[in-house]
Homo-oligomer: 235 residues x 2
DNA sequence: ATAATTATTAGTTACTTTGACGTTTAATTT
DNA sequence: AAATTAAACGTCAAAGTAACTAATAATTAT
């Protein structure tokens, strides 16, 4: 079989920015790199793409390796291809970001990679261009969460409004008026109020809510402005 | 020097979805592929990444090769990496989309590639996964144009409101109320009214406008909803 | 027991933006 | 001079937004 001769081949990797929310702060899961170059330094979880894998498959595999989780929210972020980004060998990296329920993770924590959660505000210096990847991922979830309800992916099955609010406050690093926040939220119809209350953080207790999965899927692409009702148009 | 042994190398390409607006319709520039496989079929303009090139550099080079243009709007769209996408050899492709002023192009049209503009609504079948790339690009500019003023990139230096409106109508394949459209537009403060009128399309003539470049840059990242004034927060 | 405390939830108001629709204007053509 | 036509301007009710006041349900202190 004929091939594209003389074209230069290179390595292609996938790196994952894994976000979690502990109920108070937004965090990112990092590993201590175990091999040369830059062994011993903090890094994103990643790996090379194999011959028969698609990019999404590779990203899911890598995520599963580190967290034991499958079927979580995973989205391609950006391809990074500076010729010198990896000092050892020319490598293109496709960055993905994942939003996981941090509690599901903790049970199957993987010591093998020396993984650790870091506050997004207190990240160590990372290898290669991983700092830039993380910055891009933080920007992306800010962008996307302003228009789509993706942050629910970070929450456990049942959660409280104050939790949800501190998640938004963490992501945007700002204070939000709680009365207006509740009103916007409930007007989306995405929340189902449960009987039970969480009393761990207050005397009164905050009602638990769960996500209306059907409405969540239906409203996921909805967003507003500039074009009247663009969600009705995008096909 | 040590290398990542045993990891499988592959080809990495860049493909460009080039959008233009002729004053009435949104179009995409395609080429007739001149080599095996799939020679003679319609295709996006693309090329392999060379050893010392970044992805953006490669995309700009490819765009320049076909259009003769430099410094135009170019944005990374998505990396496509299905193992079978290119039947000949494993190739990852990073798709970019470009928004160009179609009039600047026409002067330096390049016959060498047998390039041709197609209506986005009447596209021929393309090679490999280029159809999917085009679909993704159309979706992306719909998404982005609903929130950011990117469509100005498709217009010449001076343009009329009716032109701008039919551009938006073309992108979203819908009718827009012209009174409300004008109001939204002028409220952005992006437009500067010129003395001159374009009388080619009506008796009364429509005033030409130009873009306030300073405000354009300042407002480019602005968008609305969910989080009050997110544009003030994103840093 | 009662009062104080505190996070949570409900309600109010002035203001801005939106979408739908009616009218006038500036030119050309008849 | 009248008819024509696209362009530009104007109005209004309804919906949404941000800022703020008030009430509630529990716990803790007296």
């Amino acid at each position: 079989m004929i091939e594209y001769t003389k074209e230069s081949q290179m390595l292609v990797a996938v790196d994952c920015i894994i976000f979690g929310f502990d109920g108070e702060n937004l965090k990112i899961l990092l590993i201590k790199r175990g091999f040369h170059p830059e062994g011993g330094k903090w890094s994103l979880m990643g790996g090379f793409i194999e011959k028969d894998e698609s990019l999404d498959e590779a990203a899911n595999k890598i995520l599963h390796e580190l967290t034991g989780l499958k079927g979580v929210y995973l989205e391609q972020l950006h391809a990074f291809g500076n010729p010198l980004r990896d000092p050892m060998e020319r490598t293109i990296s496709i960055a993905y970001f994942a939003l996981i329920d941090i509690h599901k993770y903790e049970r199957q924590l993987n010591d093998h990679y020396h993984a650790e959660w870091f506050l997004t505000t207190e990240m160590p210096n990372l290898i290669f261009d991983h700092n830039a990847m993380v910055e891009a991922a933080k920007q992306r979830i800010r962008y996307k969460a302003a228009l789509h309800p993706i942050l629910f992916e970070l929450l456990p099955r049942k959660f409280t409004i104050p939790q949800l609010q501190s998640l938004y406050e963490g992501v945007y690093n700002t204070r939000i008026d709680n009365r207006n926040f509740i009103r916007k939220l409930t007007s989306t119809g995405l929340l189902i109020k449960l009987e039970e209350k969480d009393k761990s953080n207050s005397k009164k207790g905050a009602f638990y809510f769960k996500l209306d999965k059907k409405k969540y899927k239906a409203k996921f692409q909805a967003f507003l402005n500039f074009i009247p009702n663009p969600e009705n148009l995008i096909s």
